[in-house]
Amino acid sequence: MASGYNAKEEDGHIGVVGLGGASLRGRKPENTAFKQQRLPAWQPILTAGSVLPAFFIIGLIFIPIGIGLYVTSNNIREFEIDYTGVEVSSPCYNCAQNFSWHSTTPCTCSIQFYLHQAYESNVFMYYGLSNFYQNHRRYVKSRDDSQLNGDISSLTKPSKECEPYANHDHKPIAPCGAIANSMFNDTLELFYIDPNGTRVPVALSSTGIAWWTDKHVKFRNPGGSTNLTAAFQGTVKPVNWRHPVYELDTDPENNGFINEDFIVWMRTAALPTFRKLYRVIQKKNNMAPTLPRGNYSLQVQYNFPVRSFEGRKRVILSTISWMGGKNPFLGIAYVTVGSVCFFLGVVLLFIHHKYGNRTNNADITN
């Protein structure tokens, strides 16, 4: 009767919990590689000799990559104009001085510049802001994704996260939140000044600047996009906005929440100095460059205030490559790290030469 009964296990206190349940006899541990900790193992012993090749290989791979990246980055055309209007000489000085979110008469200024090189491929037009902390914790949170996704209930009852930009005059704000409220609202136009002096407007495409997923999945107008005015009935525009959300654009495919400028703005930037894609200048079919070298004029409808936080506004014209915009850093970094590796490889070679014979026969741990 109950010959296996064992008082030691009577209340499970003795022995290792979960391990003591072996039968009384034959408690010999299994002689398996796992249980005896004899699993075949790779024992990486990092000595000068064994690390040496890795350093050289890294060096040999990194340096060419770095050079490639550097060259690629250098081939990118980029042009940047600051139009903040801080200096008195700046054309936008006046607009910057007397600013109001709600001025009815837009202040316009125009900046002339000269492109020394022709831009061959598609040109991306960015606006850049400095010292604008779009990544401030409370700013980042101040949005309602459900509302932006076309949720009717969220439209009329914005999330608390949007406070204090959720309601205005007891009406829900659409789109609610600080991000939407502070949306960049300068209008930028680019003109090519012919050698003969005529201003030719450059065609700026305002679609295709937002992520596909944002445009088609994340952002949706409430009640479809048939009649936006009706859909946004009962809501008010954000405080700082001049037009309600359904008047952002005339194209119904680019209006309301799915307005691409809006979508781009809503994807908050990681760093306080950032640029956002504003327009794309598509390359024409013929062999002519997208932006030939010559004089250009940038016409700015100056709406967005940056002086309160000592910010800067820029316009950037840039081509892009397979690795993104112009940034020589990666190339330089690759070359540097590659060189360091190579140098360390040499050092290790020296050490290996000095201690090598010893480390070989002392390889007792193998």
């Binding site: 206190h13 003795i14 919990v17 779009q134 980042v140 994807r267 760093l271 894609l277 002392a362």
Partner: protein, 1356 residues
């Protein structure tokens, strides 16, 4: 003699108290656990449940627990609240709770509320599941036990009916049959055995498989047991956990009382053996049974590493506070510079207040920095480590089928930090398998050369054992024995005999571990003694005369009494497979023949003098023929043969020569040596003693009984009141047993009072420690001649005892005393009084026993060999090479201890031996100072030539060096006058400089002085300079004091290893307590942290598992902290670019799960599986152990190095993406994506770089970790449209991963981050591997003795 030998056996003795008397409890308790509690006023009354006093029964028994047990902590309903309540007692969980609550405060809210709950919920769930599983296991087990059935008496049925265990109540009568388990503690009221005995096996309780005898409550066996009529009232102690004690009485309505003892109690979960049916009344049930009350949970100790870890965690807290403060101040300043920016949300707050809020926000954001989950991880890692230790096949003992038991779950890494090992001697270093080696009777030494040689042969055959199969072993052994004996050198008994070949031996005994092995059973009698003894039954006078010229009749009486004592003065249980235990075979005493001897005895004993060889009894021939006619040829033949053999060989040298010369003689030699075997060859003569087995609690008792059997004084059976002994003459006599005065540690002796079978007198036989017994023996006042004889005997015996001790034998003295009837009557009264008293019975019994054991006559002494366990010297050598100091704390004699120390190579012949024996404190102080001076001036390298200048004038003296091989003439190493001779090792500088050190030998008295506060410092200083310390004659209390002193004052990690009850206190005091489950029950094991079965296992346990566990855990902790710091710093650097607002560039889910899931398993794997050095290297080079241990600053230095590295890596990991994406249209989460991925790669690859071994498990875990991360973020980026407001992960990862820049950044970041560590490791390994090389090529550096023959200072 070992004074503590008795202590150790005390408990086992009490277990099987097969005597009607109670037992003595020492006035000073061995440990608190067993301190006698005065139970006055705290009693329980038990009445029969169905007995005549129904009403009273119900009123009394209400309070008593039923027999159902419930060891579960929770029930289904209470599980959640109780478990939560218990869990929130842990500081870690409170921290999580605090964070979760903090996140509910809107102004500091960092993440969505549910996200901060995740860590808490996860940890709580994991632990709750673990608890629930454990509890369920217990529940199932409880249920199984509670539903066991047993036979319980029921009045309605008027019979015993089946009943579940849980329905048994106090007061029930339970009937059990053979092999049934006892359901509750009950008093034995009836046994089918006519003598009222029953045997129980306590293996379930303490692991001992020998049978313990229990007896029916006295007076109950006389009457017919009828449950209905049981009207006794039982008064006994309240439930307690003392397994060895039970006191109470039974009272019948008329007021007559019967005492109740431990021997009446059947304990729960023991098994009934050898008894057809027993009935008992339940006195304790369920949780009140002694078995249940002895179950305590696993031990909890804090390991050293965990304590160090706490300081590191404090540093982390400090770091966290600094980081949060930085953020708070930064935010304040940043806010101050701004004038109403458009990105400022919410109402205007003052910068200071906003900074304050940010401080708390940052605590939530950077919470991972406090490695709270580390504590959970450490627990899991330790479980894994224990799993592997538990499963190590090298720590498994085939013979006892026992693995190592890890009883403390959380100090595995302390095994790698041990600096001092305190070891018990008997049973720990030695086998604790006693073999009778030699004896001295009547002042004459019987060296038992053949016996010694036989033991040697056992050792010598060890090598051959592989080739020889076991079956022909005995015959081949016999042959080899006779051959070997020719060349054997009698003059030295090598210490080889001390080292055991347990393997072979244990194979013989593996079927029943407790049964004495063949080695112990076979004792080759000394032929001189055989000759003398054979005279008792010699067929004619001539033989007797020629043989026993020197022997007197008094001597003969001494010898007979001596062996009679060996046979009866013990508590062994006689069992034989052939016949039932409880049936006492009818004695067939050949009365007439015995009468003759009786006459002889009376003459010797009464007159005791003159001690002249005058009287050969005239009737010998008739006696012999009587035996012959009774067909006892076997037993007769042997003495005769022996006598002849001895005739031919007057002394051993002749004997061996004779063996060569005389071919026919050779045939007789084996017969002489194996009389039983020889006898059994005689057809028809079936020797019953071949089948008799003795089961003793202490192995040396069995050894003595087997020894006496070898001389044909065979204990054949025993009952409560008589013993049956077969005499050398062939007759069997009943020895009426009057009293047994069992062992106790104070008296250090045991006595039996019997009525002498031959003379009819009341005789006391005592055996005990020589230190005590020698003082109790007196020369009988009387004639001068007698005085001379007795003092001569005393003197000689003392000499022999000393030489035994030097040989490493355990010594016992045998003494006797004849009581006059009146004397006995007087003593009997006090004894009965003592027995019947309840209150202070122990004390009275002690006094009564002491009164009896005076004026004894010394008969002789025995030397018992306790051989070293296998691989003890290798283990000690390895430990010493690992720079672990080994101390031996033993209760043994100084000489014995030193000899064992030599045998196990703790001592080298070249070592300086400092012996401290002081009488008072002053001399002790002087001596310690003197030693200290000597030791500090002593240049070890000169040990070969320079000897310490002069001997000390004080009592103790350093004796330098000890005789090396083959110089037995040199004096004993420690006794005698101070010897200042130069060390006798040959040329001083042979081979490598043997780093001889000093070894301090200190005895119990001196230790007492040395442990006093004033001398502690010097003593410790001295011991620090000594290679080893041997404390002999120390009490359990002293053992623990020594351990505590070293542990507390030197601040070192101590390990105590022992096997017996006397080591319990030491094991409990030490940082790591190791119990050896051996011959002495489970006391030590129960109190230990780790229980092993052989001393040699300590080597792998410490050197390999300890080393691994420590390095693994230390590395794991460092890695864990590194990982957290590294990851948290990424978030911190981001604060510089988000206005210190507490924003993060990662989705909150990813952030929380990154630590909790994606990178949680690799550290665990690292902590469980990593092997920084392979097994064989660790075993072969114990120095690695030292390296790990001595690197104390390792942890704190490495901690800061890791923090630094983490800072560097996080800088790289943050700023490379920063510069790469600076001034681009990068979104917040898109920026976080390559940072997170790089961090993951860096963290995983960092572990690859740090790991010493990588198996497929590592690979799998890395893949799963990385895979789970990418799967999670990709799923999030595909499906999370509005799931995780306000962050916006939709499309981020898919977009990023479609861009080459992402990969370029990740690669660059990962490589750059790991470069320094890679470089550092490469450089470090290139340099330090040289160290390992040194060890691998140079011979053993220290600790080990130069290779002399293992023979130590042997003196015979």
């Amino acid at each position: 003699m070992e004074q503590l030998h008795w202590v150790r056996f005390r408990c086992q003795q009490l277990w099987a108290a097969n005597h009607t008397q109670g037992w003595y409890s020492p006035p000073r308790p061995v440990s608190d656990k067993y301190s006698p509690q005065r139970s006055a006023g705290k009693r329980r009354t038990v009445l029969a449940r169905w007995g005549p006093h129904q009403d009273e029964y119900h009123s009394i028994s209400k309070a008593y627990k039923g027999n159902a047990i419930r060891t579960t902590k929770y029930s289904l309903l209470t599980f959640i609240p109780m478990n939560l309540f218990q869990q929130f007692h842990r500081a870690a969980n409170l921290y999580f709770l605090f964070l979760a609550l903090l996140n509910w405060v809107p102004v500091v809210e960092a993440f969505q509320k549910e996200i901060t709950m995740i860590p808490l919920v996860l940890v709580l769930t994991v632990i709750a599941i673990k608890d629930a599983l454990e509890d369920y296991r217990r529940y199932v087990f409880d249920k199984k036990i509670n539903h066991n059935t047993t036979k319980v008496y029921c009045t309605k049925e008027r019979d015993y009916i089946d009943c579940c265990w849980k329905d048994v109540h106090v007061g029930d009568f339970v009937r059990l049959s053979c092999n049934e388990i006892i359901p509750a503690d009950m008093l034995l009221l009836h046994s089918s055995d006519p003598r009222g005995l029953c045997y129980i096996e306590t293996a379930n309780l303490d692991g001992e498989t020998n049978l313990k005898q229990r007896e029916v409550v006295s007076k109950m066996e006389e009457m017919e047991f009828v449950p209905e009529d049981f009207h006794w009232r039982i008064e006994c102690e309240n439930p307690n956990n003392n397994l060895c004690r039970f006191r109470g009485y039974m009272e019948n309505p008329s007021g007559a009382r019967v005492g109740l003892h431990n021997s009446n109690l059947l304990l729960r979960s023991c098994i009934i053996r050898n008894s057809e049916a027993v009935v008992g009344i339940v006195v304790y049930a369920g949780h009140e049974t002694k078995a249940m009350m002895n179950n305590s949970g696993p031990r909890y100790k804090r390991s050293l590493l965990e304590r160090q870890l706490n300081t590191d965690v404090l540093w982390c807290v400090l770091l966290l506070i600094v980081m949060c403060l930085t953020a708070a101040i930064g935010h304040g300043i940043w806010l101050k510079q701004l004038k109403n920016p458009i990105f400022e949300v919410g109402e205007e707050t003052s910068p200071a207040l906003a900074g304050f809020y940010v401080f708390w926000t940052m605590i939530i954001v950077l919470q991972v920095l406090i490695p709270i989950s580390l504590y959970v991880s450490i627990e899991i890692v330790k479980l894994g480590q224990i799993y592997f230790i538990h499963n190590d096949v090298d720590l498994y003992n085939e013979h006892t089928d026992s693995r190592i038991q890890c009883r403390a779950l959380n100090i595995t890494e302390d095994l790698g930090q041990v600096q001092y090992v305190f070891s018990d001697k008997t049973g720990t270093l030695t086998e604790n398998k006693m073999v009778f080696r030699r004896c001295s009777v009547y002042g004459v030494e019987y060296p038992h050369y053949d016996n010694g040689r036989r033991l040697e042969v056992y050792s010598a055959d060890k090598e051959e054992a592989g080739r020889c199969s076991l079956t022909p072993r005995s015959s081949s052994r016999r042959k080899s024995l006779s051959c070997r004996s020719l060349s054997c050198n009698h003059s030295s008994v090598s210490l080889n005999t001390l080292t055991a070949d347990s393997e072979e031996e244990e194979e013989l005994s593996c079927t029943s571990q407790c049964r004495p092995s063949a080695l112990a059973k076979e004792v080759v009698p000394d032929c001189e003694l055989v000759t003398k003894l054979s005279w008792l039954c010699a067929p004619d006078l001539n033989v007797a005369h020629s043989c026993a010229k020197a022997s007197s009749s008094l001597e003969l009486a001494f010898i007979t009494d001596f062996f009679l004592t060996l046979a009866i003065c013990n508590s062994v249980v006689v069992s034989s497979p052939a016949q039932s235990l409880n049936v006492l075979p009818q004695a067939q005493t050949p009365l007439r023949s015995l009468e003759e001897i009786k006459l002889m005895f009376q003459r010797f004993n009464l007159s005791a003098l003159p001690a002249l060889p005058t009287l050969p009894p005239p009737l010998k021939s008739s006696l012999a023929s009587k035996i012959f006619t009774q067909g006892k040829t076997g037993s007769f033949t042997v003495p005769k043969l022996a006598a002849e053999g001895c005739d031919q060989t007057p002394n051993p040298e002749h004997f061996s020569v004779n063996g060569v010369m005389d071919a026919p003689g050779e045939e007789e030699v084996p017969k002489l040596m194996f009389p039983e075997a020889a006898a059994s060859e005689d057809a028809g003569a079936v020797e019953p003693e071949d089948t008799v087995l003795y089961e003793a609690e202490s192995p040396d008792e069995a050894a003595l009984v087997y020894a006496s059997r070898a001389y044909h004084m065979t204990l054949k059976a025993r009952s409560a009141d008589s013993l049956q002994v077969e005499l050398p003459t062939g007759g069997t006599v009943q020895v009426p047993l009057l009293h047994v005065l069992p062992f106790d540690s104070n008296r250090k002796r045991m006595s039996v009072v019997v009525r002498h079978p031959l003379t009819g007198q009341v005789v006391v036989y005592t055996k005990g420690a020589d230190s005590v017994l020698m003082d109790l023996t007196r020369s009988p006042t009387g004639l001068q001649l007698a005085q001379n004889v007795y003092s001569h005997i005393r003197l000689q015996t003392q000499k022999h005892l000393d030489s035994y001790a030097r040989e490493g034998l355990r010594t016992l003295c045998i003494a006797t005393k004849t009581l006059e009837e009146e004397e006995y009557e007087v003593w009997l009264k006090t004894q009965l009084l003592a027995e019947s008293s309840i209150e202070n019975r122990e004390e009275l019994l002690l006094r009564s026993a002491q009164a009896l054991e005076t004026n004894l006559t010394l008969l002789g002494a025995t030397g018992i060999l306790d051989r070293l366990q296998e691989e003890v010297s290798e283990t000690i050598e390895a430990l010493q090479r690992a720079d672990v100091k080994v101390w031996i704390l033993t209760g043994d004699k100084q000489e014995t201890a030193i000899n064992i120390a030599f045998a196990c190579k703790l001592l080298c012949p070249s070592d300086q031996l400092l012996t401290a024996n002081c009488e008072d404190k002053e001399s002790c102080a002087v001596l310690v100072q003197d030693f200290l001076h000597r030791v500090t001036c002593y240049v070890p390298d000169d040990s070969g030539t320079g000897s310490p200048s002069t001997g000390s004038p004080s009592t103790g003296s350093p004796t330098t060096g000890s005789p090396s091989t083959g110089s037995p003439s040199t004096g004993p190493p420690s006794t005698g006058p101070p010897s200042t001779g130069p060390p006798s090792t040959g040329p001083p500088s042979t081979g490598p400089p043997s780093r001889a050190g000093s070894v301090l030998v200190i005895d119990g008295h001196t230790l007492d002085w040395a442990l006093q506060p004033e001398l502690q410092g010097d003593f410790l200083e001295l011991s620090k300079h000594c290679k080893a310390v041997i404390c002999c004659r120390s009490t359990p209390l002293q053992k623990s004091q020594v351990v505590r002193l070293v542990r507390d004052k030197l601040k070192v990690m101590t390990l105590a290893v022992g096997d017996g009850a006397n080591d319990v206190s030491m094991i409990q005091v030490a940082d790591v307590g190791v119990g050896i489950s051996g011959q002495e029950g489970m006391q030590a094991v129960m109190s230990s942290d780790f229980a092993i079965s052989r001393f040699k296992h300590l080597r792998k346990l410490l050197l390999v598992h300890g080393h691994w566990c420590y390095t693994r855990l230390a590395n794991m902790i460092l890695y864990f902290i590194y990982k957290n710091v590294m990851y948290v710093n990424l978030l911190f650097w981001y604060q510089f670019f988000c206005g210190f607002s507490g924003n993060v560039m990662t989705n909150a889910w990813v952030l929380i799960l990154f630590n909790l899931i994606f990178t949680s398993v690799p550290p665990l794997i690292y902590g469980v599986l990593d092997q920084d050095t392979p097994v064989d290297v660790l075993m072969a080079h114990p120095e690695f152990y030292q390296r790990t241990r001595t690197s104390k600053d390792y942890v704190s230095l490495m901690f800061w190095l890791n923090i630094l590295d983490a800072f560097y890596q996080s800088l790289v990991c943050f700023f490379i993406p920063y510069f790469a994406y600076r001034d681009s249209d990068i979104g917040e989460l898109s920026f976080g994506s390559p940072i997170n991925s790089s961090a993951l790669f860096i963290i995983l690859l960092h572990q690859v770089v740090e790991s010493h071994t990588l198996t497929w498990i590592h690979g799998l875990v890395f893949l799963l970790s990385a895979g789970s991360y990418f799967a999670f973020v990709l799923l999030l980026s595909v499906f999370c449209v509005t799931c995780s407001p306000p962050t916006n992960p939709l499309g981020v990862e898919t977009m990023q991963m479609s861009q080459p820049a992402f990969y370029l950044v990740c690669i660059l970041t990962t490589v750059t981050a790991l470069l320094p560590r890679l470089m550092f490791l490469a450089l470090k390994n290139s340099v330090t591997v040289r160290g390992a090389e040194q060890w691998s090529h140079s011979p053993s550096v220290r600790g080990s003795c130069p290779d002399v023959e293992p023979t130590g200072p042997v003196l015979s």
